[in-house]
């Protein structure tokens, strides 16, 4: 009988391919993985416990910092569950804006994922291409919320403000000549919707570029085809959602099956894979970018034609505007109460889930009737995915671990919370 000798290898937490602070303890036989034990929690900030100690609206900003690659989608899950408990529905225009930003965020997330995943397994160029388009999307975030990443844009009852009529512009400086600034600003002359519209026109060609680089690329296929195969029945057992589940051939998307906001009025398709390997999940996500682009376009067209309120008028939940607050006594009182104490949510419990770029992002909230949530539980898609890491890499080579980490699209902000 041959002598079997396994050894233990430590991967991370400081490793460029670990997508953050993942520590993997790998049991190896030569270069073959016997088992993997992911150690998570190095980024644990007790977001849920912090949320339990603050009025409802003060935690929206924390949600951005969960999955810091798809910021606004996290906010969406959180405000949806509050709206469910309060029994309110935001105005239709706010719902369209939310869908618009969810889909922009999906593209943002998938671009980051594609760039980083490519970089991890040897495709350098794709990273630069993806970040070129991400820059435009970040500008959209900035135009609407003032920040490029952590937007804090959604509120229970709508969104913080309507889409701006002007885009922020570049200024000439000692590093940037007037001429190059004019060139950069050419696309920023119109409103935000014009800017997004221009993006949706150019974006399909960008996706073609990425696909040219990767889809038929021999090295890319060697690194991803038949790596990390998950059969559909295992994917269900392991609690996979989002592209991880669809890559295995299960057609399940909350936007279609349990539509929230206005997804049931939009036209888009759900791509599914067949083999459940890294390559199929790559194809699914790339197609999702195209579909998201289609949704963004539909939302832009609708939003152009349908002005209206983007927030509820209910002053017991939504703060009055600054102007109202300055010359109306009752508005001042409402403003004071909402910002010192917040609003009380009726006792009860609710779970709201959205189709986050990474899978099902759900928030379970228990309220005891107070101005703070009694318990908030955030169900992050990546947590379930990473829990299946050992099963996905067993029998593969060390280099494939990196491919599997990449394909899971994990971000530690949401896993560690």
């Amino acid at each position: 009988m041959p002598e079997i000798q396994t050894f233990t290898m430590n991967f991370g937490p400081q490793h460029p391919a670990a997508h953050g602070v993942l520590r993997l303890v790998l049991e190896m036989d030569g270069e073959v993985i016997h088992s993997a034990d992911p150690h998570v929690g190095l980024l644990h900030r007790a977001t849920e416990k912090l949320a339990e100690s603050k009025p409802y609206n003060q935690s929206i900003g924390y949600m951005d910092r969960l999955d810091y690659i798809s910021m606004i989608c996290n906010e969406h899950g959180y405000v949806l569950v509050i709206e469910k408990l309060l029994g309110i529905t935001p105005p239709i225009r706010a719902q369209y804006i939310r869908v618009l930003f969810d889909e922009i965020t999906r593209i943002l997330n998938h671009l980051f994922w594609l760039g980083a995943h490519g970089l991890d397994i040897g495709a350098m160029t794709i990273f630069l291409y993806c970040f070129r388009e991400r820059e435009d999307l970040m500008d959209i975030y900035e135009a609407v919320s003032g920040t490029r990443m952590h937007a804090t844009y959604y509120r229970p009852g709508g969104v913080y403000r309507d889409l701006p009529e002007a885009m922020p512009k570049y200024q000439a400086s000692k590093w940037r000549s007037k001429k190059s600034v004019a060139k950069l600003n050419a696309i920023r002359e119109g409103s935000l919707l014009d800017f997004i519209d221009a993006f949706t026109v150019k974006f399909p060609a960008c996706v073609d570029q990425y696909e040219n680089l990767l889809t038929d690329n021999r090295i890319w296929k060697q690194r991803t085809v038949n790596i990390g195969v998950v059969p559909p029945e295992r994917a269900l057992q392991l609690g996979f959602t989002g592209p991880m589940l669809r890559g295995s051939g299960v057609e399940w998307d909350l936007r279609k099956k349990q539509p929230y906001e206005v997804y049931d009025q939009l036209d888009f398709d759900i791509p599914v894979g067949t083999n459940g390997d890294c390559y199929d999940r790559y194809l699914v996500r790339v197609e999702e970018m195209r579909q998201s682009n289609k949704i963004v376009k539909q939302c832009v067209d609708w939003l152009r034609e349908n002005p209206g309120p983007v927030m509820l008028e209910d002053r017991k939940i939504v703060a009055p505007t600054r102007v109202e607050m300055k010359d109306d006594m009752e508005s001042l009182i409402h403003h004071f109460k909402l910002f010192t104490e917040g609003y009380c949510v009726p006792a009860g419990e609710a779970y709201a889930a959205i189709e986050h770029p990474k899978g099902e992002f759900g928030v379970y909230m228990i309220s005891d009737g107070a101005n703070k949530p009694y318990r908030v539980k955030i169900r992050a898609a990546g947590f379930a995915h990473l829990g299946a890491m050992s099963e996905m890499v067993t029998g593969h080579m060390l280099a494939d671990v990196v491919a599997v980490i990449g394909t899971q699209d994990i971000v530690f902000g949401e896993i560690d919370r």
Binding site: V40, G41, H44, A46, E48, K49, L50, S53, K54, P55, Q58, K84, L85, L86, G87, I88, L236, Q237, L238, G239, T241, V250, W252, K257, Q258, D314, K316, T340, E341, G342, C344, V345, P346, A347, G348, E349, A350, Y351, A353, E360, G362, Y364, I366, D368, G369, A370, N371, K372, Y374, R375, K377, R379, F383, A384, L386, G387, A388, D416, R417
Partner: protein, 234 residues
């Protein structure tokens, strides 16, 4: 095919009878409460029987009901003084007790059926044992593995039959279960660099706990109209 909550509730009542008690929901969700000893049998039936077919366990969540419904500031009558920011709250350390209030700790399971397009929530209370212990559902839904580890780490709920019940989110060597309501928000220890020892050491926290916004419960019924609730008008 999408299964309505009422159809599903009727099926559950017919199949399980008294074992499952429906919990009222204000937002149209289906929640059932059951005895912790029935969990495994019910879970297996819910997964395998075609009437239910909950093939996915979406989430397992621990809950500590210790301070449920208690507020920090009275709002029923005018108070003579303002709210002090440096509230001193006596730590309630019940971990030493032999028993807990039987309705203190709960484990909440969120199930999803893809075939029937339905969701279901199950809740069990852990009983009065210290440490709280329930049976693990890892064998029924493998996704429970990490979710149960998390509930153990944050609430100290033990899951009998779990293959690998280790801490998951907190630091190596962490003491206590931080999401229990009697665990202070600022924690018990902090890390600092000790120049004499030349390494990072743990010490008791030096910051004061503060509550910037007191927790208040107002049941003035201001949302009852939105909820279509008659009771609030009284």
């Amino acid at each position: 095919m999408s299964l309505s909550n009422e159809t599903l509730a009727a099926r559950i009542d017919a199949r399980f009878g008294q074992k499952l008690t429906r919990v009222d929901s204000t937002c149209g969700e289906l929640t059932y409460q059951l005895d912790k000893d029935d969990l495994i049998e019910v879970a297996r039936a819910l997964r395998d029987e075609p009437d239910f077919h909950f093939e996915m366990l979406i989430d397992v969540c621990g809950v500590d009901y210790l301070t449920y419904g208690s507020d920090e500031w009275t709002t029923q009558s005018a108070a003579g003084s303002g709210y002090s920011r440096g509230v001193e709250r006596e730590p309630v350390i019940l971990d030493e007790a032999d028993t807990f209030d039987p309705e203190r700790f709960a484990v909440v399971y969120h199930l999803l059926s893809l075939r029937n397009n339905a969701r279901l929530r199950l809740r069990i209370f852990t009983g009065d044992a210290n440490p709280p212990i329930v049976k693990s559902v890892v064998d029924i839904w493998n996704s429970a593995n990490w979710f149960e580890r998390e509930a153990f780490d944050l609430f100290g709920i033990l899951f009998e039959g779990h293959p690998d019940l280790r801490r998951i989110l907190t630091d190596y060597g962490f003491i206590g279960h931080p999401f229990r309501k009697d665990f202070p928000l600022i924690g018990n220890v902090e890390v600092t660099y000790d120049p004499d020892k030349g390494r990072v050491v743990y010490q008791p926290v030096t910051i004061e706990p503060r509550t910037l916004v007191p927790k208040v419960i107002r049941d003035d019924g201001q949302y009852s109209a939105a909820l279509g609730d008659e009771a609030g008008d009284a």
